[in-house]
Subunit: 202 residues, 2 copies
DNA sequence: GAACTTTCGTACCGAACGGTACCGAAAGCG
DNA sequence: CGCTTTCGGTACCGTTCGGTACGAAAGTTC
């Protein structure tokens, strides 16, 4: 049944898809969807246009796959934070992770999920909407997690999980903007600490 | 000395510069610098390309002038907030104003100073850098204001004005991102309230 | 080996980009 | 009335955009 697992017919691909995708993540992260041209992307990926189209479809799908990759890679702190035992630990892990990811040496400053495309013309609307979804899914997961904390008694019964989740996401998004403006890790960590003092901000 | 104040020689301009600039502000606000084409801009401004170039120089200078206009118009709450008597009133006015401006009906959601250009390719670098300056000037003004509050005893002597200013700017930037993601005024005002509870977050 | 399937590199497509040359039109000046 | 000066509209510039046609190259299967 599993004959030729490693040798599909036809000429084999001459590059590593995952590695090429990681290179594309960096370009989108640094220049945004509209600012990243196909030439920028394929140069960084080390492949030709035709190879990119054959492997990923088109620029829009490449962006979607790059966003998935980003979520599992540089932004994986988000999913990990949700597994912390208390709401305070969740919020702390999320904001500390956001500071670290937005100021990691060797990577663009900021967050792909924010600066990939906030405002766009017609050709970039699909990418912008994909990022809006991405951010709203993040809020939704955090909302559910905080609602669970309310049910468990970890947060006071009158706490509004939705507002708390939006508060944390707002600070995380702001940290990304600040990092894109040149703020350093040393400047942003105290901001995350300040946002987490007196948790929850009932 | 002031002869012909109102009638310079040559054919007079057939449109109102300020009104055209306000239309351009909305286009940049909605589509970002790179997403706003000259056709988008001149169509909205109701003038031709040549008139735009004669009046404003080029796309980059038009963006700079639009940003000035935005600062004096929709973002004027920032300068007003600095005149509040206490640091808490300053922070409150700034965040409440940011919520209102980012969700004003009839205008694009979010903040031109954030979504105008966060990440950009080579042709948009100048606009991106102009916005980085714009945001950093905002932080600097707030830093000075909070430092004054420390000197006046309105903030405790050990308070770090720079951190407090960055905290407020971070929340304001996050509010802008949230608004661009579709968050409503009713959803964002409680976030601003939460950020201001227990002021200052020593 | 031959036949087949897929990838890769080049060279190109039409469209849109920011920006400009040119010329007629409209005003103040003598 | 010329004359000068500036504005406004058209038509165009070279470049870059995202996307593709096509043939050569590189593998597997017979």
């Amino acid at each position: 049944m599993d004959t030729n697992r490693k040798a599909p017919i036809g000429r084999p691909r001459g590059f590593d898809v995952d590695e090429a995708l990681e290179r594309a993540v960096v370009v989108f992260w640094e220049r945004g969807y509209e600012g990243a041209s196909l030439t920028d992307l394929t140069d960084a990926m080390g492949i030709t246009r035709t190879s990119m189209y054959a492997a990923f479809g088109n620029k829009e799908e490449l962006f979607r796959k790059a966003l998935e990759r980003y979520t599992e890679g540089p932004a994986a702190y988000g999913a990990r934070a949700l597994e912390e035992p208390t709401s305070e630990a969740v919020a702390t892990a999320l904001l500390n992770g956001s500071v670290r990811a937005a100021t990691r040496p060797g990577f663009p400053a900021g967050c792909l999920g924010v600066q990939g495309s906030l405002a766009a013309g017609d050709p970039g609307r699909a990418a912008r909407d994909a990022l809006i979804d991405w951010r709203n899914v993040g809020w939704s997961r955090l909302d559910e997690r905080f609602q669970r904390a309310v049910d468990e008694g970890d947060l006071p019964p009158h706490a509004d999980a939705g507002v708390l989740a939006r508060y944390v996401m707002t600070v995380a998004n702001g940290i990304a903007v600040q990092a894109a403006s040149g703020a350093t890790r040393e400047q942003l960590q105290p901001v995350a600490d300040a946002a987490l003092r007196n948790w929850p901000p009932v």
